[in-house]
């Protein structure tokens, strides 16, 4: 799949933003006044910024209101609805914390639940696609949630839980990479089933329908960059999981946490780039590619 910058930015930023909102909603840390202002400003900047970035890849973004209509069937629509609901609830909660120094905690719990559900819906947009076997697995939502809550936990200064969640994310990431590498093959979809000609012999793509490029190839048969996949995996894992864990275990001072969050965010960008670049769509089979 084509690793579009806007979608990478969206999933990384809003993942961290909603992760932080979850912790704030739980009252961890229970901040008021100016402190609350800075925490919530950061969380909203990340969450809203990410959502805005996601509209950059739309062909007709001015019609975005329609995307809230199909929550009964569509994970993308659900994500939009949940995100808005979460931002409204947490917006109220933030107002209370910043200006009134008194919060109604149940509101925060609802906001936290909505934040988690938003990240879950984001992950399901990818995990639901049978056409991309690498994504079509329970490990995708688990990984997205662990990263979001772990990264958000770092931002919220919840070092203990963040360490546990990042460790879980690390394990899930390794599992997702290792099990994902073979999943396309396991699913049994190949050029033979794609053309229905596999029962007759060995099928080879002889001639493509067009000599130039097209939308399908650019969007779904993105093969460039996969050659550096192993190196990038190492970089992503080191920055996203290993470095933050080591840093906050050395010391949980504000400076160390800042450093850990920066590493984590950079690593997550690399990880998300790979998430798209390494994902093979079955349509590539029609072109004799993966």
């Amino acid at each position: 799949m084509h690793p579009a910058g806007s979608v990478i930015l969206f999933t990384v930023a809003s993942g961290l933003g909603f992760g932080l909102l979850t912790w704030l909603g739980l009252g961890l840390p229970d901040v008021r006044g100016w402190a609350a202002f800075f925490y919530y400003a950061l969380a909203f900047a990340l969450a809203v910024g990410g959502l805005l970035a996601s509209t950059f890849h739309l062909g007709n973004p001015q019609r975005f209101l329609r995307a809230f209509s199909q929550w009964r069937s569509s994970w993308l629509s659900r994500e939009g609805c949940l995100a808005v609901a979460c931002l409204l609830v947490m917006g109220l909660f933030a107002l209370e914390a910043v200006f009134y120094d008194a919060v109604w905690q149940p509101l925060g719990y609802i906001g936290a639940a909505l934040s988690v559900l938003t990240v879950f819906a984001t992950s399901m947009i990818y995990a639901q696609l049978k056409t991309v076997p690498r994504w079509n697995h329970w490990s995708t939502p688990v990984l997205f949630l662990a990263l979001s809550l772990g990264g958000g936990g770092l931002l919220a200064g919840q070092v203990g839980p963040a360490i546990a969640l990042l460790a879980l994310a690390g394990v899930m990431q390794l599992f997702a990479w290792l099990s994902g590498d073979g999943r396309f093959q396991e699913r049994g979809t190949d050029i033979g089933t794609a053309t229905g000609l596999g029962v007759r012999g060995v099928v080879r793509a002889f001639e493509p329908p067009h000599t130039g490029n097209n939308y399908l190839l650019k969007e779904m048969v993105h093969q460039v960059g996969r050659k550096h996949a192993v190196k990038l995996r190492l970089i992503a894992f080191a920055l996203m999981i290993a470095a933050p864990l080591v840093l906050v275990m050395i010391s949980s001072s504000a400076l160390m946490i800042c450093l850990a969050v920066t590493c984590h965010a950079l690593g997550t960008f690399a990880q998300r780039w790979l998430f798209f670049a390494e994902a093979e769509h079955v349509v590539g089979l029609y072109y004799g590619k993966r």
């Binding site: 007709n60 056409t131 012999g201 939308y215």
Partner: protein, 248 residues
Amino acid sequence: MTTLPETSAKKLGLVIDLDTCVGCHACVVSCKGWNTENYGAALSDQDPYGADPSGTFLNRVHSYEVQPETGTAQLIHFPKSCLHCEDAPCVTVCPTGASYKRSEDGIVLVNEDACIGCGLCAWACPYGAREMDQAAGVMKKCTLCVDRIYNGNLPEEDRVPSCVRTCPSGARHFGDLGDESSEVSQLVAARGGMDLMPELGTKPVNKYLPPRPKDVPADLDILAPYLEPVSGTQKGFLGWLDKALEKL
């Protein structure tokens, strides 16, 4: 609504005969023509006369080589467009309700006025049947020429999809695959029509007729026996002449 209709009694679709398709791409051209001039946003081209041309097409013809265990390889031309799946994943993922499947005849369409151009439906389709138009920013796909098949202004014989009307080798058939007695259903039954990627559970309405086995006559070349090279020793006058000449 992007939830799928429970069932549609009528299942309009195409039956494509891989045995007869000659790979001329006439259907591709006629599809592009009809769908650029009629319903919805035109099928745009980018850099059409430049070094890197590309464009939106709703139908494309691939060619495959199949090498059986024994015998010679076979070349098969393979037209591919939307299969109007019964369990269409492209419809349920759509956040806006722009993508929908009609309950009256099963045609899968995009309401271009509602499409935000997110591209998720193209990701959900296993067959590469949806292409985002780069000029209009909306999703384009085969409409089964919904603006021809019910069009009373056209002569009866033109009320079929443009590709079907155009195909010079009769490799494309249009009809109701929900009706067992229809010509297309009978064709599918007689020729063992197949689904593409059945394992993905999309239940395509369009069917593909596999190539028939090649005829292998006992002796392909009826003239061969008469053209056998003359061998052995000649008898009679010719034999004498041959020997005499050899001795010279």
